[in-house]
Symmetry: C2
């Protein structure tokens, strides 16, 4: 029909998408977005179709999907099923990254506190703890029937995947912190431990809403850690005695009325 279709230079495409010229050249080189052709003098030009394809590439890339995967699976209009599967499995990767980052932040948080208190950092202990936790299989957790186990009893259905995962990440982050404090040699009654206990308590309250039956249901799930990922069990094993003591002291000190279901 219209052989006088508009064509665009690399520069134009770059400006309209916010990418650099070099990036487009690279995309051409690796074949993820070949140009529609070259001018006599050897310069690239693109068509509208190319730009649409590019928009999609940029979208996928902004989610952190590698160019290779985009090229192999996503670049020429995948089926909804494939697309969904790709996105879901990529989400697992992102979740695991977030988990690592959370862990690192917790460690820094604890470390900075230690330094400010004039203590030196127990590298070896910390390093070992990190190694213990790094292997965690978050994927298991994404598939784990968290909803039915806790939320059934919490009567708080209709939660999104992200909501579920957020809770798990929070628990894990707090467990890690407790494990660190314990391993580093903190006493459950000292300031750091009490600040932690406060956060733990508030987290439990925010999830359970303070409802007694809900707390006991949550507690039951907690006890049932056999079904949790291996690494987390290990983490829990290290952290639990410390949490119990610190929380006991916190509750006493602050005259908090504790539901009967929590011994």
């Amino acid at each position: 029909m219209n052989s006088d279709e508009r064509i665009f230079s690399v520069g134009e495409v770059a400006r309209s998408t916010g990418l650099t010229v070099r990036t487009l050249q690279y995309y051409d080189n690796i074949g993820i977005l070949p140009t529609s052709g070259r001018t006599e003098s050897g310069r690239r030009y693109y068509t509208e179709k190319d730009i649409i394809k590019l928009e999609q590439i940029v979208f996928y890339k902004s989610l952190g999907i590698s160019l290779q995967e985009i090229k192999e699976e996503l670049v020429d209009s995948p089926t909804p099923k494939v697309l969904e599967q790709m996105l879901s499995s990529h989400m697992d990767i992102l979740l695991r990254k977030i988990s690592s980052l959370n862990l690192a932040i917790s460690i820094i948080d604890v470390s900075v506190t230690e330094i400010r208190s004039g203590n030196s950092l127990p590298w070896e202990t910390l390093t070992n703890l990190i190694r213990t936790m790094e292997g965690s299989s978050l994927k298991d957790w994404a598939n784990y029937d968290f909803d039915s186990m806790i939320y059934d009893s919490l009567k708080m259905k209709n939660i999104t995947t992200k909501g579920t995962i957020d809770i798990y990440l929070s628990i894990r982050s707090l467990l890690a912190e407790a494990a660190m404090l314990s391993k580093i040699g903190h006493d459950p009654s000292d300031t750091s431990a009490q600040v932690f206990a406060k956060r733990w308590w508030e987290f439990i309250m925010s999830i359970t809403g303070g409802d007694e039956s809900v707390i006991s249901a949550f507690d039951a799930v907690n006890k049932n850690r056999d079904e949790w990922p291996e690494v987390d069990r290990e983490l829990y094993r290290i952290a639990e005695p410390f949490i119990e003591k610190a929380l006991g002291i916190y509750i006493m000190k602050n005259n908090i009325t504790v539901p009967a279901s929590l011994k």
Copy 2:
């Protein structure tokens, strides 16, 4: 004294630290951990001191600090002040990464829901939204006096840095989700929007504890977004009308008793 100090081969060091031989060779090459010497045949060997140094390197690296920075600032016993400063500033970087990841996860969450509903993805809209948000300056936020602004009124002092940031990240994540739903063309009354409204409401409740005076204080801060980072204001501007409508419907449908301070 003891010139017969024990020495270790690369292999031994590798096994004891969990690193690979290649990694140690690399560390030698870039000068972050030079060997104590070589045998006649040119093989590396290490001393106890080297291993201690290595432990520290591994610790810093597990936090995501680059080898170069470790080499320049941290590898030969930094002062506590320098160490603290390095860790703190690195935390900012990690927080920004988490923020990006959270955003990506929210987008995938929304995208997968769209796909499952049989809709196609509006790349351009999503891409623009991502670009709008990517520039956000989380660092500003870490320094922002969130504590005094909200927590003073919430009478919930003693919160850690991580606790503060977590709240900000949650807000930002929820705002992003609302903005997306809105931009994609969802109606505040449809299922996706209502699931969102539920989460928003529960988040507000979990922070404020449902206390009326606290909610109004929180609300006041929210209104005062002039002082928030620019990108977040933009985000809020897009999301607010949608949230207001969706929340109104949610509250009506579920017969929730709303504190008077929330109109």
